[in-house]
Amino acid sequence: MQHGSGEVRGSMATSASAQMALHDDHGSQQIQNPGLHDDFFDQMLSGLPSAWPELGNPKSPWDASAAQKLFRIDLTGKPPDESQPEAATEGLRYASYDEATMLASRLPQSQGSGGSSPTGEAMMLQLNNRHILPVVVPLQAAVGGGVGESGLLPLPLTLGSGGAADPRIIVETPRDEMDGPYKSPDQNGGEELYSGLGGSIRAAQAATGQHFHHPQNHGGAAAPAGVGQGPAASASSGGGAPQQKQKVRARRGQATDPHSIAERLRRERIAERMKALQELVPNANKTDKASMLDEIIDYLKFLQLQVKVLSMSRLGGAAAVAPLVADISTEGAGARAGGDGAAVGNNDSLTATEHRVAKMMEEDMGSAMQYLQGKGLCLMPISLASAISSAACRPSAGGLVSAPPPPATSAAAAAESPSSSPSASALTVQSAAAADTTAPKR
């Protein structure tokens, strides 16, 4: 441990200078660091985030407080685990600054070390999943320098550290391989930083390579799910076997929380109603909701206007006649009791007439009308007749309301055409009767 912190302090100065150098050369993208042969390191450092300047300003960029601010981890909390010092001595922590700030802000403040280690791992591996080459920052140095022994970052590099490993992400096998590169960096003071960096970069690459396979099925949903889910998931799955768990993941862009499901259901029901309205309202091939509503509103106004116009028409006359027709059928029904035989005979003849009229209607409407007129009958909608009959008296069998023609005046004989369509139906009202009755009443 002491050795580790000594190393840390030794590397701190060099790292500070390195950082200053980097900071100076920030604009030029030309980083002259001795001993950097690694291409990956160049790539990474050339893509340094602009968060560097924010760290570059204070005198001691590796201040514990700065790191604390970055990670918002309670560093002075519990003492680190057994495995952590090992990890601390072996390698360096790294994270990219902007990612770190983002992820760290999601970390709950009071994370214990047990909880934070999987958090750190999850964080790191999420970074890997995102294919971001993590910027190497000797954070361990920063934290270690500031806080001392207890300042070991609770973001261990090794995956297998502690029992509370995130089972989603952790795979046992690459652990040893991961440890390998950690051991590779030389332990001499000055060079240690850079070779260590290089080694850890290689480790990062290895980690990225290793973990490409495993989190594949998790896709991008894992990363945006955030670190918040990491500890939750690890907590829920327990610190058990670090195996892959196939969890039900929502499709990208859709959530499984009940609110959005309810939203979706509601939208589907509304769409169903709109479709039904589309069938009713003419000229409603619009896909837009607003224009569809426009059409509905216009159609409603049109219908209401139609009702107004119809009520202004000569419907009053019809209404005046109708009760008389109803009365007539009452009379007819009353008189029918006396003349049942005649009524039956009438029914038969009416049926025959019906058939004839139906046949004639199919060929020529005019001749049918003429025929009816000759019999003293005319047309009426079925619904009207049935309404009248049901209102006035008990309906006769087969929908026929027949009455024997009274001597002088009127009788209502109704016959339904069997082949009538709902719109054009044939019934009979004795037109002469109507004329007779209307004349005196007027």
Partner: protein, 201 residues
């Protein structure tokens, strides 16, 4: 979607009864009086034929707001009148003053606009306002749907449209029937004329 036969029959029955009750005639009534009497009968007939829906209740409530109609309604509907006009607690909502609601909506929308779209009007906000405007217009047209939300509003509108269509159809048929019969009876017109009068059906 079609209105049922029972609806049609009930409608016609009530319409004729209502017209008779209000003693519609050409002699004593002016055009306006006749029109309002028939329209009233038709609306009441439609509402009573349909039964218990939000719009039927709203329509009858609206009609019974005027005193002269109330007795007519009671005669026509009888026991149903009490049933249809009593407040339905399922749809009862806290009565909100329209002015206050409008003001709060304005404040909310202004706040949203200031926060979200400093560079211009966002399309989503615009679309939502359009739909809202039309929803309000729809609520004004269909009786009794003031407090309903999107789905129920569309449901009631659908039902109301079907009933209105049936009303218009039946009134037209009634009219043409009696016109035709009168035409056929009164005038000794020739065959082509009669044919022409029936073709319109």
């Amino acid at each position: 979607m079609q209105a049922t036969k029972s609806f049609e029959q009930a409608f016609l029955k009530h319409l004729l009864r209502g017209c008779r009750l209000s003693a519609v005639s050409y002699k004593s009534m002016s055009l306006q009086e006749r029109k309002s009497a028939i329209k009233l009968s038709a609306d009441v007939a439609m509402a009573s034929a349909r039964g218990g829906r939000k719009w039927t209740r709203g329509l009858i409530t609206k009609l019974s707001k005027e005193d002269e109609h109330r007795s007519f309604l009671q005669l026509i509907l009888g026991t149903e009148y009490g049933r249809l006009t009593k407040p339905c607690h399922g749809s009862w909502k806290i009565p909100r003053s329209k002015k206050i609601v409008r003001r709060s909506l304005r404040v909310c929308s202004r706040r949203k606009n200031n926060l979200r779209a400093p560079h211009g009007v966002k399309s989503s906000v615009l679309a939502r306002t359009l739909v809202e405007k039309r929803t309000h217009a729809l609520k004004r047209l269909v009786p009794g749907v003031e407090s309903l939300d999107g789905y129920s509003l569309l449901d009631e509108t659908l039902d109301y449209v079907i009933s209105l269509r049936a009303q218009v159809d039946l009134m037209q048929k009634l009219l043409t029937t009696f016109e035709a019969s009168k035409l056929g009876a009164l005038s000794k017109c020739t065959l082509p004329e009669r044919k022409a009068s029936f073709v319109g059906k």
